[in-house]
Each structure stands twice: as C-alpha cells, then as structure tokens.
C-alpha cells in the first residue's frame, strides 16, 4: 500500500495565545477527493493556510510524501506541489490572463533576451486548452467572469504539476451550470492522480463530488466519514454540535396586500439589462435568479439608485420612483445588502459597533450631534436582536465570521425599519448554522409585512425561500416561476434560455 501523500501529526496553530487549531492528526491518501466542512470560525481557513505556507504551525509535524517538510512561505508549498485556490481569489486585475497564470514561472524569452509575448500567450492558451477552456489570454484578468477566473486559477495551478490541489469555497460565486462544469474538471483532475482537498459550505456538493469528508468544529477535527456512509443531518450535527431543524423556514402567511411595494416596468440600463418588469408585494419574498452575468445584481443596484436608468418606470408603494443616489433609496425605506460584503458593505478595520451604527446615526442626530450613549445603547440592542456574536462590541468586524458579518450588515439596515429590502447573495460564504438564522430572519421580516427582493446563486435557497422567482437570462427576464413550477430544474432551464422549449 503506497504511503499517504500528506500526514499531519499534532499540527496546531495559536495566535497570541488564542488557539485557532487544536493539535490535529490527519492523513490524506493519494488521488483522494477529500471534503472539508465546518462552520465559519471552525479552523478551516487556518488549516488551509498552514498547508499552503501562509501560516507556520505553532507545533506538530507535516509529512509530505514520506518526508517531513516546513513551509516558511507560499513559495515553499508551491514548490512542494501544493496549489491552493483561496475563497477570495487574489489576482492582478490589470495584468493579462496569461501574465496572471504564469506570474511566478520563467517567461519565454526571445533571442534578444526580452519577453517573447506571443510565446507567453501560446503557453497560457495551451494550458487552458488542455483544461478544456477556450478563453482569450491577452485580455485583462478583470474582464473575466467570476467563473472564468476560478477556472483559469485552477488550470494555472494544475499546470504547475500540483499534486495536492486545495480549493476553498470554489463555487461561492458560480451558478449551477458553472458548478457542474467545475466538477467535471475536478473529476478529470482526480482521475489523473491529483489529490484534492475541497472546502465548501454547500453540503450537496460534498455528496456529488467527494470520497471522504472531515469536519472541523472550534478548531478540532470532530468527524471523519466516508461520504457514501454519512447522511446530511449527521454532517450538520457534526458541524454545529446540535441538530438544525429547518434551513429554509416558511412561517409567513403570504403577501399582506395586493398593491405592490415595488413595481418595475420595462426597465433598461445600457449594456446591463433590458425591459425588466417585476413586482414585489409587502410580505412577499421574491427571488431573482440567473447565471452569473445575467444582470441580476445590476437590476437590484439600479432599484437602489446605484446605476442610471435609461428607460422604463418604477413605482414604490404607488409613487414614482427615480432614485438618483442610494441616499434617496435609504430615505424612502429601501435598503440593500451588497454581494461582496467585505468590499462593498463593511469597513473591515473598524469595530462591530461603528459598522452597525453607520446605518442609522442620522436617526440619532440632534442638531448634527450624536450622543455616544444613545448610539451605543442602540447598537447593543441591535446586536442582541440580530444575535451578532463577537467578543466585544468594538471588535474589528473583519475578524468576525462571515455569518456574523452578514448579520451585522442586516442589523445596520434593519434598524431603520425599511419597507423594501434588497439582498444580493445574502448567505454567500456563510456556514449552515448562520445560514438558517439568516433565512429565519428574512422569513420574519416578510411576515412583518416588509417586501424582500433577493438574488441568490444557491438554488435550494432560492427555491426554498422565495414565494416567486424571476429568472433572468442575458439581461432580460426569461420567465416568472411560482407554486409547482418553482423547482431547481426549471430555474436552471430558464436561466439557460431553455424553459419555454422544455414546457412546449
């Protein structure tokens, strides 16, 4: 029996005396596709960073291919044959795809010693073609879609003869067909003998992809299962340490009024979307589905006043609605949770308290002055109401788990008691426990009569939470699904422009 590819012997990590990862023993066999799950803050990222050389262990040994190794930098891990695709892809947006793929490799040289650009592009093209991708390599990396970026990063990692590929939440920004394509790549890669460590919050992915699943909780390895032998309920129990009753609660009684809270008619915005018509009623949760790039987020941002409208009409509670700026939206009781909470929603270095209170300080101000006492008391109430967990109220929000960051963002806006709530990927990168809490909160808001319009690439979430779903394709509404028609399969068909053909 061949020796395992990687063995961890009592590997641990502490930060200034705080334990992030307890002494952990783990063996990863050659050619295995191993799933790694755990709640936010369970220690998954720490483990990945130890394996990829970003962090150095505080204790224990790492044995690679029979030899003890020590990674002092990502370069060491890469040289050893460990390639990592981190959850938030780090890339150089202005540089070309080819340059990003081969950044640390020697670039081909012409006979005069300069970079041979055509040869560089050809090398990159060949790597992508071998991976089954046909993409231009001389365009800026920024011009690729999130899915393409992910695929290019994986192709680039494998081209370095990686023997262990670590993927941290690779499908967080992908739509369903793109996820399927990625799985195809991974299964081919595994068949070629590459070992894969796959980290995800989407439990369904584990069952369709992995051979074995390990679970981390509070920095400890708490379970190690053969995938075929474990049930999803058991995994959730292992992750959160308690059973989670309902991930998609529907306790609300339905729309509170037939008059729409938001009515959008033939809305268009140059190069982004065309002829969008939709309705959201008070007390209703309406989903907006589609592939990445279909224009879902853009529609929501336009409703919030972030993009200029070139054509069409909107009404908010029966009154004309022409937001020129998000300020207009906030004043009219419309709030928006952005897709990328770290980049667009939070000031990561600032405390939880200031990140929450920034949403409603204007409500507390008298003659332009804010009472710190009143602000603090309101923040404390919000933290308790929305169950945001932190060591203290001024803890930098960047150090909180994804779920708590998202709850803090919700707390910021919900304290304004909005009438229309726009959510863009509200549970992206959030663990299953926090996800269930956010879903319950959204359900409660709808039950209180608020209108919710939300974008999600998580199909079970979209179908499980929505009363109705508008499916977008190439900047247009393809169809509206509700009741029995609202299934994951129909959403996929409509997002690909195949729904009408399928039902006819």
């Amino acid at each position: 029996m061949p020796a395992p590819l990687l063995t961890l012997h009592a590997v641990e990590k502490t930060f200034a005396g705080v334990r992030a990862l307890a002494p952990l023993d783990l063996t990863i066999g050659r050619g295995q596709l191993l799933g790694l799950v755990g709640e936010n803050g369970a220690g998954k990222s720490t483990l990945i960073k130890l394996l990829s050389g970003v962090y150095q262990p505080s204790g224990g040994r790492i044995v690679w291919d029979g030899n003890q190794v020590a990674f002092t930098s990502p370069r060491d891990a890469l040289d050893t044959g460990i390639a990592t695709i981190h959850q938030e892809l780090e890339y150089c947006g202005h540089l070309s795809v080819a340059e990003n793929m081969l950044l640390r490799e020697p670039w081909p040289r012409s006979r005069f010693g300069g970079v041979d650009w055509p040869a560089l592009r050809e090398t990159a093209s060949n790597i992508l073609r071998d991976f089954g991708l046909d993409l231009p390599v001389d365009v800026p990396f920024d011009s690729l879609t999130p899915a393409e970026k992910q695929e290019v990063a994986i192709a680039g990692a494998l081209a370095r003869d990686a023997r262990l590929l670590i993927l941290d939440e690779p499908t967080a920004a992908l739509s369903e067909p793109e996820v399927e394509r990625l799985f195809g790549h991974l299964q081919r890669t595994q068949a070629e003998g590459v070992t894969i460590l796959y980290v995800t919050h989407r439990l369904d992915e584990l069952f369709s992809l992995t051979d074995r699943v390990i679970v981390l909780r509070d920095g400890e390895l708490v379970a190690d299962h053969e995938t075929q032998e474990v049930e999803v309920e058991q995994l959730i129990h292992d992750m959160v340490g308690r059973p989670v009753e309902q991930v998609y609660p529907k306790t609300r009684s339905g729309p509170k009024s037939d008059d729409p809270a938001l009515a959008v008619q033939e809305l268009s915005c140059d190069a982004m979307f065309t002829d969008i018509s939709l309705v959201v009623k008070p007390g209703e949760i309406v989903g907006l589905a589609g592939l990445v790039g279909a224009g879902r987020s853009e529609v929501v941002r336009a409703i919030y006043g972030l993009y200029p409208i070139t054509n069409g009409r909107m009404t908010l509670f029966g009154h004309d609605w022409h937001p020129q700026h998000p300020r207009d939206a906030i004043q009219r009781g419309v709030v928006y949770l952005p897709e990328e909470r770290k980049r667009q929603g939070l000031v990561l270095e600032h405390g939880l308290d200031t990140n929450i209170s920034v949403g409603f300080t204007d409500l507390l101000a008298r003659y332009g002055l804010i009472s710190r006492k009143a602000e603090r008391s309101r923040v404390d109430e919000a933290i308790a109401r929305y169950d945001v967990r932190a060591a203290h109220v001024s803890q930098p929000i960047g150090t909180l788990s994804g779920g708590n960051q998202q709850k803090a963002l919700l707390a910021r806006w919900l304290e304004r008691a909005p009438d229309l709530i726009l959510l863009d990927e509200p549970t992206r990168g959030v663990d299953v426990g926090a996800k269930a809490e956010i879903h319950a909160l959204i359900d409660r808001l709808a039950d209180q009569g608020r209108a919710v319009l939300f974008v999600s690439s998580d199909l079970p979430e979209l179908v499980g939470m929505s009363d109705r779903v508008y499916v977008m394709n190439r900047g247009r509404i393809e169809t509206e699904l509700s009741n029995d028609e609202l299934t994951e399969q129909n959403v996929i068909l409509a997002a690909s422009g195949l729904f009408e053909a399928a039902i006819s």
């Binding site: 930098s73 990502p74 150089c92 947006g93 202005h94 640390r104 670039w107 970079v115």
Partner: protein
Amino acid sequence: MTLPFLSHLSPALRNRLRFLLAGNLILLAFIYAHTLSNEKASFLDELSRFGPNVAPLILAALGLTGIVYTGAIDLSVGAIIVVAGTVFGILYEYEFAPAVCFAACYATALCLSMWNACLIRWLKIPAIIVTLAGLTFYRGLALALANVSLEKFSGQISIQGDAYHRPGNEWAGSILLFAIVIAIVWESFGKTPRLWLAHGSSQAACRLQGLDPARLLTGAFFVSGLFLGLAALTETTRGLTIEPNRLARGFELQVVAAVVMGGTNIFGGEGSYLGTILGGAFLYLVGQAMLYAGLSEYSRHAVHGALIIGVIGFDCLMHRKAKLLEELR
C-alpha cells in the same frame, strides 16, 4: 499590429496617451507660432533647450514610475537630488576631477534611494511615511554636510568650469534620449515592470504566487535610483551655483504630477513609462507656452496647478462611461 509597449495598456490608458500626444503637439504648435511673431525668439533654440530643461524632470519621473507601479511612492526625490548636488559641490570645492564629482553625485542619489527601500523593508513602514520624512531630513542633511565639509559655506557653492556643467547642458539631451529608449524597451520586453504592476495590483496575489513583495519593492527603488542618479546629475550641473536650500524645491510635486498626468495609477497596478514621458513633456511645454503668452510668474503657478486638475479631470470625464463599463465587466 500594436506596438509591444502599447499592447499591455488598457483602453483608458491608451486614450490618455493619445490625449497627451495631441496636447504636446498643440503646445509645440503654439510655441512655434509665437516664435514666428517674436524676432528675439527662435523655435530651434527652444527645441535645443528642451533636452537640458526637461531632462531632470522626466528622468526622475521615469524612476518614480516604477515605484508607483508597485503601489508605493517616493516623495523625497527632490531632497535626494539636493544631497547628491551638495556632495558634487563639496567635491568640486576640494578640486576633484569632474568625472569623480559626477560619479559621486550619481552614486549618492542611487544610495539614498536604496536607503529608502531598506528603511521601508526593515521598519515595515509605508513608503509614503519614510519618504515624507526623507523630504525634510535629506535637505537638512545636505546643509549639514556642506557646513561641516566647507570652511566658508555661505549657503551656496559656485561651480566654475565648463567641464563640470557638461551633463546638465551638453549631454542632457543624449542622456534623456538614452534613458527614454531604455525605459520603453524595458517596458516592452521586460518582465520586471509587469511584476511591479502585479505588486501594485495585489500584493497578496504576488505573495500567494510565491513571489517576494519586499524584493519587488526594493528592486523598484533600485531602478528608481538609477534614473534618479541621472536626474541629479543633469539638474545639479545645469546652473552655475548649487544652493542646498533652493535646489530642486517643489521638484517632487512636479515629478509626481508628470507620472500621474501620464496615466499611471497613483495607487499602483496600472501605468506606462511612455505616459510619464509625455506627461513630463506636457508639463514643461505648458510652462513654456505660458511664458510666451506673457503670463506673470504668479499666474503661471496657478495655471499650472489648474491645468493638471483640468486635464486629468477632463480625461476622466471623457472616459467615465467606458471606465464604468470596464469595471462592471
């Protein structure tokens, strides 16, 4: 077919280059028209003065461009020139041969640029802080050096003898041309400038790809020192006196302006050496055009500043939609 140094540039940056090229040509035409109507002025003389006058600015700006590519900045370029010039003056007073004075001047600028890099690396302090401190520290250092080394230092060192003025007068044009060719060829066929841009675009990406960000930054300061040495040499040997208190005053702002005018993103990640060259030339030609237009010195300063904001603002406005769409894509 696209020229190699243009093929890497974004559409917005290419537009900036076109814009600057057109602006430079218009300014040259304006100056030409004025020299025609002015008997005392000659367009050929004006062109021959272009090299010596603009060389220090463009050379220092070329050096700074690489640093700005990485997302850093060097605000002490003017003060470094002052120290280099003072060393030159002291050696001149001690009657060293011109070649020795030139070498010492060049080496001083290079060493101080490297010293900046070392401080940033060792102390892990942002470049803007280190070089902001250097801005006043180096100028003080130059005065202290002159005071200690020269018995009767009156605040200025008078440099006599044509041999000592050759780099700033006779050779400046050639030095500038040489540096421009090197910069453009290097940008077209070198990997290092692309790695600097990568550093400026995402330091984390560089680290995760196994590159050493500290080394890249040090490299940028080293290459900046190479250009800055030439800038110091041409600036110092241009005039008849070296006054540490007045030499290169406000120079760093002109250099930053040339780089930014050229389309290089002040936060790193995007830029062009060619843009810097065109930006530096534009700033100089604007100054000359205002002279011919008869503007007072006070107005010239104000117009210069307003023009920098105006040109960049206009360019941004023109391409706002394109940039927005680029971002959205």
